[in-house]
Every structure is written in structure tokens, then in C-alpha cells.
């Protein structure tokens, strides 16, 4: 698809980057009454760090005490609970269990409880081995005890940001895809951003304020436009293995490991789509877009899942994926407001951004307000429900008139696919269509449906499944 960028856009706020954070910020500031444009270099949202994560809505019980991250997680968590029904976003109330498998892990419990208390998450509970195995009878018998975190939940990591930006758009936010910001000038009042579009049309975007939510490229954007960056992105990959739907019944809670100094560790978690997944790993790498997978890591995850939940050996694997955390040389969020330059950088939103994004957006609004910058808040903003693709809620195939089930494994219908191609934020590439409909994301990975899907998406995307016609 060619870029829809008009040659000149002139707005209050330009949000650069359509990851989770950019989508949430665009929504917040649009609802506050600002004119906003979201600029994304890819053909669709969620091209970077936000492509793959664990989809956990965190309470913040284990967040760094008194940090901005903690504040944003808790505000984000609360706002999600407030708005999810009006946007038709799902919530799987799983709860989490921090399971100790060794004596020394059990010794960490008091520290964890203390930290949670300080973070005002007061409903944690100790479970004895017996209580733990009553709740999760499929856990290996080597489990010793657990801390229950009742309000850790699972959400849909792709529909949430889609819903945030869709709501922004129906309330007036502009978007421009396949548009990369490459530089900019500030005249004391207003930014003029230089962009590169797919078709090499150089567009111009003017904005009073700019928000850098370029995620994995946040440091580069600061350098390109401001000439310096406060931090350097150290991409940290996390790989996952997804088990087929029969696994979903085996584990009810999010099974967390006891965190170490270095990492939160490998989690076994139910997904909103009716699977069970294990991951992530944590490996630093050079590449910012290298979301490849590695056999050794996948085997390690698989073995670990089976060690902790032995019955998983009777369930086949559907898929593997990887996400890249925009980590920096420090563990905290790298947020800075260059007041004299009307520039806000939301950098290093490393491993909690799905939850925190709505809270980060509130923080942005606060930064503006502190400088006396306010807009005319929309009195009756439109809600914009997105289609449900969560397994535990009504799906499209359960309503008549869907014409045809295209993807049999995920029961994705033709009606759903057509809708996703024509929605407020239409899918910009195949990955975007998968994230909106689940098509080909199931156990057969396209064995049955890719020919039909290719036909339904003909001429829609720059990169298609087929590369040409047969000779005959």
C-alpha cells in the first residue's frame, strides 16, 4: 500500500512510532483535545518491540520501588480495567503464582512480599505446597510453595494498542504509515520534521510538540533530530514457544519464576487466544529488528515447560516467536522532557510497556500540564470497540453470516478478514492481518488456508504469500 501521507501535516503534537506506547499516547492526547499525528515507519502499527511479548497485565508488585515505571504500571493497569469493556478488549483473570522450586528460592519470599507491600500491592498470599498443587494440579511435584498474586491478568497484546489508536483516529487523530522521521528543525515554536516515505515522496510534518516513542530506535531518533541521545538501546531478545490449545486446560494461573538480579525469568502463561506459552529468554544482541529464533533456546524453553508441567509432553507445539525489548544501559524508563525544545522522549520502555502504556500516556499529559500546556478536552469522545479475537469471549464464527471459515485452526472467518482489511486502521501487511484476526497463527501454520488467504489478500499488501503465477 502506498503512504497516505498528505504533503504537509500541521498539528499540535506529532507522535513518532506506532508501538504500544505511541498508540496509547496518541489516544490520550487526542482525547485531551490536541490535534495529533502518529507517524510510523512501517506499513502497520506494532512493528518493533510491541510485536511479541508475554501479554501480562502487571500489577507492579515487583516493579522498582518509587519509580516512574511503577507509577505508570499502576496507572496503566487501572485505566485498562476502566476502559477495556468500552473498547471491547478482553481480560483473562488468571492471577499469577510465583513458584519456588528450591529452598533458596523460597528464602526470597519475604523480600518479594516486602517489595510488593511498598508498591501498594497488598493482596499477595503465601501458598503451601498442598494449596499450590490444589490450585495447579498439573505442576510438577517438585514445586515447594508459592506466592499468589491474584490480580496479575492476561490480555490481548495486539488488540489493545489497535483499540487505543483506533479510538484516537475516530476522534480526529491522523496517521501516516510507511513514513520514517529522519530529521527535524525547531524554530522556537514549531518543529518541521523531515520524513522518508516508501515511495520516496519526502513529506513534511509540522508540529508544536514532538513525542519520541520510537522504541527500539528511540536513541537513533534523538540523535538524528536533536544531535544527541541520553541513552543507547541494547536490544534484548525474548523467545517463546506456544503450545496447542489442549494445553490451555493444564494451567490456570500465570506461573512466574522467582526473579534473579538479571532477569524476571521464564514464565508459563495461558494466552488470551486459548493456548499456553512459555518464555521469554533474555539475550542481548546487536540487531534491533532481528526477531529470529534459535533451536537451542526453543528446546530449552520446551524442556523447561515439560519439567514444570509434565503433562505438556502430550501436547504439540503450534508456534514460536520472539520479541525484542528496548533495553538501555540502565534498567529504568528513559523519559525526558526537553521543555525548551518542545520534545519528549519516551525511551527504554523495556519490559512492562504493554501494561504501562496508558500510564505513560497519563504521564505525558502531566508533563504538558506542568508547563501550563493544556488543550480542550473532548467532552464526548467516541468509543471505538474492536472486534474480539479472544478465545473465551464470543467470536465471529459463532454468529451467522460469516460466509466461510478461512483459517480452521483459529476459526478465523472471511467476514473477520474482510473487516480487518477495511477497518479504521486497516491491516497494513500480512503480520498486521494475523494480529487482527489470528489467521494462520494456529497449529497448522497455513497448511490448510494459506492458498485461500493469499487469494483473499491479493493486491492488498506489498509483500504477499505468493510470488507469481504457475507456468501453465
Amino acid at each position: 500500500m502506498t503512504s497516505k501521507a498528505p504533503p504537509i501535516i500541521d498539528v499540535d503534537i506529532a507522535v513518532i512510532g506506532g508501538g504500544i506506547v505511541g498508540c496509547a499516547v496518541a489516544r490520550r492526547m487526542t482525547l485531551e483535545g490536541a490535534s495529533v499525528v502518529l507517524v510510523e515507519k512501517s506499513a502497520d502499527i506494532l512493528a518493533g518491540a510491541s510485536k511479541g511479548n508475554s501479554a501480562i497485565l502487571h500489577t507492579g508488585f515487583d516493579a522498582p520501588n518509587d519509580s516512574l515505571e511503577h507509577e505508570c504500571i499502576q496507572n496503566g493497569y487501572n485505566e485498562y480495567l476502566e476502559i477495556h469493556e468500552s473498547l471491547n478488549l478482553p481480560l483473562l483473570k488468571t492471577g499469577a503464582l510465583l513458584v519456588a522450586w528450591t529452598e533458596s528460592e523460597e528464602e526470597q519470599f519475604s523480600k518479594i512480599l516486602k517489595k510488593a507491600q511498598h508498591n501498594k500491592v497488598n493482596d499477595l498470599q503465601l501458598l503451601s505446597k498442598k494449596e499450590l498443587l490444589q490450585r495447579e494440579p498439573n505442576l510438577a511435584n517438585s514445586a515447594r510453595a508459592a506466592i499468589e498474586v491474584p490480580r496479575e491478568y492476561v490480555i490481548d497484546p495486539w488488540s489493545a494498542p489497535l483499540a487505543y489508536l483506533s479510538q484516537a483516529v475516530v476522534n480526529g487523530c491522523q496517521t501516516t504509515f510507511s513514513t520514517e522521521v529522519t530529521g527535524g528543525d525547531f524554530d522556537g515554536e514549531r518543529w518541521t520534521l523531515q520524513t522518508n516515505t516508501l515511495d520516496n515522496k519526502k513529506g513534511i510534518i509540522k508540529a508544536k510538540h514532538v513525542i519520541n516513542s520510537a522504541g527500539l530506535y528511540g536513541d537513533i531518533l534523538d540523535q538524528d533530530v536533536l544531535g544527541e541521545s541520553e541513552f543507547t538501546i541494547k536490544p534484548r531478545k525474548g523467545e517463546f514457544v506456544v503450545f496447542d490449545k489442549p494445553a490451555h486446560a493444564l494451567v490456570k494461573n500465570i506461573i512466574l519464576p522467582i526473579p534473579t538480579e538479571i532477569t524476571k525469568g521464564v514464565v508459563i502463561f495461558p494466552t488470551i487466544f486459548g493456548n499456553l506459552a512459555v518464555g521469554p529468554t533474555a539475550d542481548e544482541q546487536e540487531g534491533r529488528s532481528d526477531a529470529s529464533v534459535d533451536q537451542k533456546n526453543l528446546e530449552m524453553l520446551y524442556d523447561l515447560a515439560i519439567e514444570k508441567v509434565p503433562a505438556l509432553k502430550n501436547v504439540r507445539v503450534n508456534a514460536t516467536y520472539a520479541g525484542i525489548r528496548p533495553a538501555t544501559e540502565k534498567s529504568e524508563y528513559r523519559v525526558r522532557h526537553l521543555n525548551e525544545k518542545n520534545w519528549i522522549t519516551l525511551g527504554g520502555i523495556r519490559s512492562t510497556g504493554l501494561t504501562a502504556s496508558l500510564g505513560i500516556a497519563q504521564h505525558v499529559q502531566k508533563l504538558f500540564a506542568e508547563q501550563g500546556i493544556t488543550f480542550n478536552r473532548l467532552s464526548t469522545p467516541l468509543a471505538h470497540p474492536v472486534p474480539n479475537i479472544a478465545e473465551h469471549l464470543p467470536r465471529d464464527w459463532q454468529k451467522s453470516g460469516y460466509e466461510e471459515i478461512v483459517c480452521h485452526c483459529e476459526l478465523a472467518t472471511k467476514r473477520e478478514i474482510i473487516a480487518a482489511l477495511n477497518s479504521t486502521l486497516p491491516a497494513g501487511n500480512l503480520s498486521g492481518l494475523k494480529r487482527r484476526t489470528r489467521v494462520t497463527m494456529g497449529r497448522c501454520q497455513g497448511f490448510y488456508c494459506s492458498a485461500r488467504l493469499d487469494e483473499l489478500t491479493e493486491d492488498k499488501f506489498v509483500d504477499s504469500i505468493s510470488v507469481g503465477n504457475t507456468d501453465e
Binding site: A291, S292, I405, F447, Y448, N469, T470, D471
Partner: protein, 339 residues
Amino acid sequence: MNKHSENNNTDSCDVAIIGAGPTGLSAAITLKEAGLHNIIVIEREAEAGGVPRHCGHPPFGFKEYKKILTGPQYAKKNIERALKLGIKIQCKTTVTKLGENGELSLATPEGLKTLNAKKVLIATGTRETPRSAQFVTGDRALGICNTGALQAMVYLKGKIPFKRPVIVGTEIVSFSALLTCRKAGIKPVAMIEENDKPSVRWPIHYSHYLFASKLLLGNKINKVIGDKRVNAVEVINKNGDISTLECDGILFTGKFTPESSLVQMSHLTIDENFSPTVNALGQCSDPSYYAAGNLIQLSNEEGRNNIFYAKGNAPQAVNVSGLCWEHGRDIANNILKSL
């Protein structure tokens, strides 16, 4: 799953057959010819016929029709035979749940339905294992698929997913993939096989000469390379030597696994091959259910497939259609006796 349904539509029948592939159609024909009328074949695709529908190459149907047919010709003959007998084949209908005592939940474009069958035959077939479940290292780029997807694209839609793929595996189906490539104007770069010998004795052993592509034995994929679309694969041999093959796709062939998640999510039990557990009559752990065809690992010991496979090399759960046809018929006869 169906608690939000608009379901107010319940039907009943003597035998419901899930899947209108060779197995399901053979069973339906057997039942009908024996005088059982209240039967229904349920098929989730828009057209009946099963996998042969998109295998535009021979050999199919020798056992059944004493002729060597292509897959689509064979599928057409099966369907015509069933329709002539007045068998009801209900397409675009997906069984979404196997309930106790033969209660089936169906999704149709007209709405959700329940079908109560005295006996159910599950004949949902088998599929290949995708790249993901094989934990192959590297980029997750476009241009990677199984033979099933390739054939559906080529034979049903006239499209190709790549022009110069690397083919992984040397089962019978890999040969079928070579034929399909040739027909579509696709030129495989190489065929690779982890073992020192190809899985099949013939025709693979010679066919790569025919198709002028390299056969690399004792090699496996070390890494998939490609940003949006595959542009190379690294292969590694037993000595650890790595070489790079430029290509624009990868075809993962074979490693069949039963299409049985529906069974696994039901009250029925499964065996270590992920097939429903069945007794000698083909009956599942709930006696209302039977299973047949490619969903079940038909015995290799009897030598049925051994014309193709070198000793001890036969992969799991792949049966030629003639065998499935016979199996469908046999199990249908067992069902008849039980009614």
C-alpha cells in the same frame, strides 16, 4: 466455548462422518450401499474431496477404480459416486466439539447447530508438521510452507509461493512436492535430508536427477536467513561444515501428524502418536465414536507402505489414499454391525 451461541438448531442422524476425504466418502458409500439412509458427511471446506483435491498428480485410485488417476480426478469420482447414491455431504460446516454420546457441535455460515448421531466416524486426516514445531533456527520470513499449502496454491489457485526453494525431507510426499514444482515452473535449489539415506527407496533416490536439483544427505538446516522473504539457508552436515544455499523459500515436507486437536480437546483419549485411541474395530474410548483413515497410524508392519520406504525408515501417520479408502470401508462395516 459455545455458551454465547445463537444455537437453537438440533438435528439427529444414525451416523455422522466428519471429513469428506477418501476415508469419509468411502465409509459413507459403504453405509449407504448397506441400506443405511440417515447418514451425513460433514466437511469444513467449501468442497468435498479432502487432500487429493489439490494433489494434481498421479497415482491415485488404482485400488478403487483400477485406473491411475490424478488427485482431483480421484476426488471427483469419489464425490460423484457418493452423490449418485444420494449421500448428504454438508460442506462449509466445521465440527467444533465432540460431545459425549455422539453430540456434535457444528459451526455453519447459517449459524451454530447441534447434531446428535448414534455413531460418529472421525476421518479428519493428517497434516505436515510446520517449521515452527520443528524448532528451526533463524528468521521467520515469508516463503516458508508445507507441501499441502504449496499444492493448494498451485493446483487450486494457480499461484506459487516461491521460485527457487530448498526442499526439506525425502518422504513420498517430498516426491509429490517435486512433481508439483515441476508442473508449476518452480525450480528447487536442493533437497536436503538429515539422515544418511533418503526416507524413501524410490522414486526420490533418482528423482532429483530428473529435476536437476541437488540431494544433500546427512544435512539439516542450520539457519533460515531473510528479512521479509527468505533469501538463503545455511545447511550443516554431520561434520559440522556449514554451507549457504541461496533460495527464496523453504518447503518443509512430511513429518505428518494427525489432525486430532478436536479429539484431544474432547473426552476421548489419544495415543502417543496423537491419534485417537481405538480398539481393533476402530472404536474410540467413547463407544459412540470411531476413527479411520489418515487420522490413525495404519500399520506399517504389514508392509503396506513398504514398497516406498527403506526398512525402518517409514515416517509416522502417512497412508496412501487407497489404504484410507479400504480402512474407511472396513470401519464402516464395523459400525454397521454395532447399530
